[in-house]
């Protein structure tokens, strides 16, 4: 006799209630990065100079700014998912593991927001 309730059997999600989100997010961000990363390396290669002023000017263009924000957020997201798995695999001991996982999330969030703010500043002017 199964101890699972009829409701639990119908929902069919097991004891963890989830499990496929991480896998799917990793794949979808990977697919997005094929486009965004490809666009970035090609666009950067096409620039003639790499001085602060030229890059600031390039990033102020609405399309470039949009792509750069998408790139920054998606990179941080994909990186966060990857680093999470590496920590789960190699960092042992519950306290150290949880601490590293939380620190990694904090760091990735910080990097994503800094990237967005930097591109917004270049795009919208000196207000930010």
């Amino acid at each position: 006799m199964s101890l699972r309730s009829p409701l639990s059997r119908v929902l069919g999600s097991g004891s963890a209630k989830d499990g496929t989100e991480h896998w799917w997010q990793q794949r979808v961000t990977a697919a997005a990065l094929l486009i965004l990363g490809g666009w970035f390396v090609v666009s950067i290669a096409g620039l003639e100079q790499y001085g602060q002023a030229e890059l600031a000017n390039w990033m102020a263009h609405p399309f470039n700014a949009t792509m750069m924000i998408l790139l920054g957020v998606t990179l941080a997201w994909h990186s966060s998912l990857g680093v999470q798995v590496v920590i789960e695999d190699y960092v042992h001991g519950p306290a150290l593991k949880v601490l590293s996982l939380v620190l990694s999330k904090f760091a990735h969030t910080f990097l994503a927001i800094t990237a967005v703010l930097a591109v917004l500043k270049l795009s919208l002017g000196s207000a930010v």
């Binding site: 990065l33 290669a45 602060q52 890059l55 990179l75 990097l111």
Partner: protein, 124 residues
């Protein structure tokens, strides 16, 4: 119950090293390398956006020997992770999962990653 002196099952050192293992490890290493690179990427954006972050210093560092070596490493990491990432996405659709196909695609990934890195490095 003592666990000492018990025989171990054949482990990593016993098996002949397959190329797929190298690719698996490289995928993880290049991923970690780019996670570290992400910090520099965001610092680069910040330096372009805010005068308080000195762009000149960053520019000078990446123009130096060690800086260029790091950039070359990230360049290879990007193209390797990209090529092997596509291999992973193909696997997810149930294709190319036979042992011999996995070995062939390994070499395909290595060659294309090296080629893309070389072409990109020489063209920029």
């Amino acid at each position: 119950m003592s666990t000492e002196g018990r025989p171990l099952s054949p482990h990593l050192t016993i098996y002949r090293w397959p190329i797929t293992m190298t690719l698996s490890i490289l995928h993880r290493m290049t991923g970690i390398a780019m996670s570290v690179g992400l910090v520099l990427f965001v610092a680069w954006l910040a330096a372009i956006a805010w005068p308080a972050v000195p762009y000149e210093g960053l520019d000078r560092f990446f123009d130096s020997g060690p800086g260029r070596l790091l950039l070359l490493g990230w360049c290879f990491s990007f193209f390797f992770h990209l090529a092997n990432g596509i291999r992973h996405l193909l696997w997810d659709t149930g294709r190319l999962l036979e042992k011999s196909q996995a070995a062939t695609s390994s070499w395909f990934v290595i060659v294309s990653a090296v080629l893309m890195t070389a072409v990109y490095w020489l063209s920029v």
